[in-house]
Symmetry: C2
Subunit: 305 residues, 2 copies
């Protein structure tokens, strides 16, 4: 997965990921009305709306980004029907040639972690293998240690899939736990960085990076720079660009000397761009998303030049 991601970043010309985090307040009224007219005022309509909105974004950006990152919570909010829209969205993105990074942040132990690993490894039933989630990689939470990660490592090794483990998140209160200073020196997140780096050793791709990546928030430039040095073979998935405040020049240190090793996510900055009005304002979700993504690509290219 990580080699394909690097190849596609090169091919499409920018280290970006478009996050799909649809909430009702950023979906145009026309899509809600259409969903309710088709399915009535129920969860099936909510699911229809999520899938339709996600499709419009994907159609608009598929030639400008190597991957999308659907946020499963936004679909899970509406129950199993919402999650059917998540799976449909992931399958649709793949059909357009995009890699799918499922932002699921799962984490549990032993047989439970094995069950979650179906996200990327598929599930067997009655002698057949199913791929219900259509993801190429997922995000994971490290709080339970390697027990929660191991079944995913197996899939990364055998099936070439990828994971991104939370190391330093982009939100302010992440510091409550991640920044605690250890007796042996350094904060918790640097220790986690060491674990993630070690976990990834058996899963090296052909381009110098492991299929076990790390989530490192764009909002902490100094920490990102340091983590880049501590984890030279760990690819970073970087949330927090745009809506959360970071810009391209904050991110130079997250990349290696060749301008690689990092993919930057923007969600609302792209998917809710149509609400800012301007040239593509009104209801043209796709055109506004495309324009916002072009601006982000330019910003990152300038920062990396």
């Amino acid at each position: 997965m990580i080699d394909r991601l690097i190849e596609r970043i090169d091919a499409c010309g920018a280290p970006v990921v478009v996050g799909l985090d649809p909430v009702c307040s950023m979906v145009p009224e026309r899509l809600i009305t259409e969903a309710v007219e088709t399915h009535g005022r129920g969860l099936a309509a909510a699911a229809h709306m999520l899938a339709a909105f996600s499709r419009e974004i994907i159609d608009a950006v598929s030639d400008l980004t190597p991957a999308v990152k659907p946020q499963i919570a936004m679909y899970e909010r509406f129950g199993p029907e919402g999650l059917a829209a998540y799976a449909e969205t992931a399958a649709y993105a793949r059909s357009k040639g995009l890699l799918v990074i499922g932002d699921v942040k799962r984490g549990d132990i032993s047989s439970t972690a094995e069950a979650y690993a179906a996200h990327i490894g598929g599930a067997e039933f009655a002698g057949e293998l199913f791929d219900p989630w259509h993801e190429d990689a997922v995000t994971l939470n490290p709080y339970l240690g390697v027990d929660g990660i191991r079944p995913f490592l197996d899939v990364c090794e055998k099936a070439g899939k990828g994971i991104f483990v939370l190391v330093k998140t982009s939100n302010p209160s992440g510091a409550e736990l991640q920044d605690l200073v250890l007796e042996r020196g350094g904060p918790v997140y640097e220790h986690v960085a060491g674990l993630v780096s070690r976990w990834g050793e058996p899963c090296m791709g052909a381009r110098g990076y492991s299929r076990v990546g790390a989530v490192v928030g764009a909002t902490f430039a100094e920490q990102g720079r340091r983590l880049r040095k501590l984890m030279p073979h760990t690819f970073f998935l970087v949330p927090g660009y745009g809506a959360q405040g970071a810009s391209g020049r904050d991110l130079r240190g997250f990349f290696d000397a060749d301008g690689r090793g990092c993919v930057v996510n923007s969600s609302r900055g792209i998917t809710a761009a149509w609400q800012k009005g301007g040239r593509f304002g009104g209801n043209d979700v796709g055109a506004a998303a495309r324009e916002a993504l072009e601006a982000m690509r330019k910003d990152l290219k300038e920062a990396l030049a």
Copy 2:
């Protein structure tokens, strides 16, 4: 939720929770055959099997336990259809008078955490409120700090629901992160205990315990005892009994002086009891589950006597 849990523990006479963690290898062949005959070899059959197995367990134990804890990963493995079986299982348990603790271990930030909070708070769409998951409480992961917890706290305060935040998990490798010693003294999990305790202050129930509880693994008796003292108003959800090795006498210190403040979960020890053969061996899933639960109740009562 926490007051109702305490009342039901008193009413049914034991501080137990039955964990529903169905995997194919512990489901009797007859249920798999029936599912495949009804739905063919697909995910709909897997979902049918999960729901049928869960129903047999619930029918067998509903008068002996105050609550069940379905493990969402085991259903999520089979995609949106599996998750429909999860929601159906939760609704069925509630219809039998049981509280439902969804073992979901979610954790994310801001608007994403809000979306996950639909698990206990429901989701609004087109002016109506839906409750797609049918849970009374859920487990959560603290790695992202209070940002990931806050939307759930709101639901706990306003709707009387509950959460259990991971503090010290029952698995060996949990120590890789949770047991790291801090410069200021004490391990990471004790610091997390302090956070959880503080987060729970605005959500106190009428019986001395907060609706913000903690997950504390049964496999670490000494740590459990110490956490009980550090968190006198935090209710413990305790996994790791039975199949993971802990027994009643290891758990005395997890309870308060009145034998309260704690509910002990057993999953495979009960749901897979039918595979151990013996008096209720063969295919009688329910009878074996009931017998195993009676034995667990007795063990805990003796330990607390």
